[in-house]
Symmetry: C2
Subunit: 438 residues, 2 copies
Amino acid sequence: MSDARTEPAPRVVIIGGGFGGLSAAKALAKAPFDVTLIDRNNHHLFQPLLYQVATAALSPADIAWPIRHVLRGQKNARVMLAAVTGVDLPRREVVIDGHRVPYDYLVIATGARHAYFGHDDWAEFAPGLKTIDDATSVRRRILLAFEHAENESDAAERARLLTFVVIGGGPTGVEMAGAIAELAKRALAADFRSIDPRSARIVLVEAASRVLTPFDETLSDTARRALEQLGVEVRLGAAVTDCNADGVRLGSDFIPTRTVIWAAGVLASQAGQWLGAETDRAGRVKVRPDLSVPGHPDVFVIGDTAAVTDANGAVLPGVAPVAKQQGQYIARALIARREGRTVAAFRYRDYGALATIGRSRAVMQLGRLKVSGFFAWVLWSIVHIYFLIGLRNRFIVALNWAWNYITFQRGSRLITGLDARAEGQGQAAQTGLRSKAG
Amino acid sequence: MSDARTEPAPRVVIIGGGFGGLSAAKALAKAPFDVTLIDRNNHHLFQPLLYQVATAALSPADIAWPIRHVLRGQKNARVMLAAVTGVDLPRREVVIDGHRVPYDYLVIATGARHAYFGHDDWAEFAPGLKTIDDATSVRRRILLAFEHAENESDAAERARLLTFVVIGGGPTGVEMAGAIAELAKRALAADFRSIDPRSARIVLVEAASRVLTPFDETLSDTARRALEQLGVEVRLGAAVTDCNADGVRLGSDFIPTRTVIWAAGVLASQAGQWLGAETDRAGRVKVRPDLSVPGHPDVFVIGDTAAVTDANGAVLPGVAPVAKQQGQYIARALIARREGRTVAAFRYRDYGALATIGRSRAVMQLGRLKVSGFFAWVLWSIVHIYFLIGLRNRFIVALNWAWNYITFQRGSRLITGLDARAEGQGQAAQTGLRSKAG
């Protein structure tokens, strides 16, 4: 498409401003490309800490940063807030509601969303945790459950309101369950009169025989014991057979609850459909070793949307480091092509795995090195602050953690989105030291 | 209703956890009363800084604090999250959707909401600023206007998107207009490629002949000039005759815009209707000098919902200090009644008025003392941090201000509530250093 005589910079369009897309854009900073990053949100989200927004420890803005601000100094990059609806491969255009964006190279980094394995009706009762709006919605549900329990006179209903079920024993599920336990048993402990939040029942449900399956078995065991010490009931080998407004069914067992959080599975974005490409069961596009789509050497899929196998034939997990390394790889590959070179197939460097349980414990695995307890937690904190974007966010998050750690309190116990409720009583008094009436 | 033989503590029910209701509850801390504070939100909101949430300088949680956390140590107080729908005066009960809360004394501190003077159809196009959800919604509108302008190819539509009209030249309007100007001309300046945010047009519309009418004329003039230096177009003596999706009409003049913010007028809550009491034009209940409702000596109305006249016959403004002093007065009056004493009529102590214009200027009036400029701004900052609830909030807000001041940046440039938009592309990559798949 580009005119060979004047040779304008080839257009690289990146869809998705998560870890993969953003790292690709940044790695192209000084390269002779014209980069457009499209995302349907204005912010890059640090998803690993989303559970802390959902449990009132952090504010949404602490873990999100405007994508266009991150790339403001990068002259060859522009950012578009838009929802992509498809890709026109023959015309080499990204289709956006209303108009089209032409590309020479396309990088799809559109992530994944939570999936209910054919039970989409569960979504209403068991929300997942993928976006800021998901997190504030889960926060509202958790905090409202305590509020409603405080006003409830029926003991059975009160117990149901004070039961929280987290489905999925991966890092997100483990972190959520631990955080809810600490919220109930520490931060909220003294704030109610009719109920004792410390009596809340928190259940973590996992279909496998252990939590944190990507980790070594000994660490899974450590994590389970740490959860139990926090008061979390860990149900292993328990498959969810139904979710409804009254509770969660695990085969013959039924847990009455009003609050369920889904951390059990994800489905890749629709990129596979856009491209008409072959996908695996989780909807991930089966890419070639250079991350390009078979038959389309100029179209790449990375991150949670791509199925990439490592040397042992296992599919790489959907985590930030994989997406980041893939984004950087794409940039290197495009620069190489431009210079007439080729690069070797993508290879993931695994720097280890970390998961936190509650306020002062974590498990860490680095190859054969296994660490758990307080030291792992300190490391977890440092790693997460280091990877946050923006000095302000790092500072504010560190400060909030220090505050939470010392006081056991949560700074963001805010129920928002209640405006739809009956009008009539609001906050009293206005603003300033004097009249605000315009 | 209470049994004179056993003498249980009289039940004081307070509706509204704003400045008035909360100060009443706190001032009753050690008194022999059984206090119930009902609010439809779980948080006390520091409304004077709401405009900073709307302009991305602060996070919602920075200016809100859970009411039940504020009162957690107060043994005679309980907090109820509920939306009151009425008051049953003969039975002395507060009616809540579903059930009833009996009282011996009732304090209504339900505030005010923005009002469109009979033009309720304007609400859709010109949202006001009263709650956290209002603020995040206004923030979304402002930030989206820039985003849409960046994607817009039509010059007229781009100009319309880059025009922001604030209606109402009171402190809220002045603060909003100044903050939007700084957002456009500083924080966003370098982040776009197709548009220059510095070219944004910000118009402040005021029907009176000057802004900040509660202040002295010289300060109004100072504020207007400060706004103009920030690039705000100040339209005085301009009455809005229509608001619609395309713009704002001021008589024969029409300002094309996609973003209008309403800071022009308020209407008291529905308490007057609940009580069947006489109200003024703004819906405020005409209370007696002891703030009780005529004919109901045990029912009090305070804050923005009450019409209280000062010694000169002027109605007290709807601001935080009035509400706070009234809440404390009610507590003193109830304690006195209990002890068989009476208290003198409520008298407001006016400690002055403050309003800020942009990042380093303010105007201040303390009786005959008038101050403006940087010193007034420093004072404004100190006063507002001092009155925030909670050490954490004070610290985080001070830190954010310092950060904003030094870097000209805004820490909360977050567009939320977009989830309703088309699915299909999300944030790439998940969490942790390894798999999060449960």
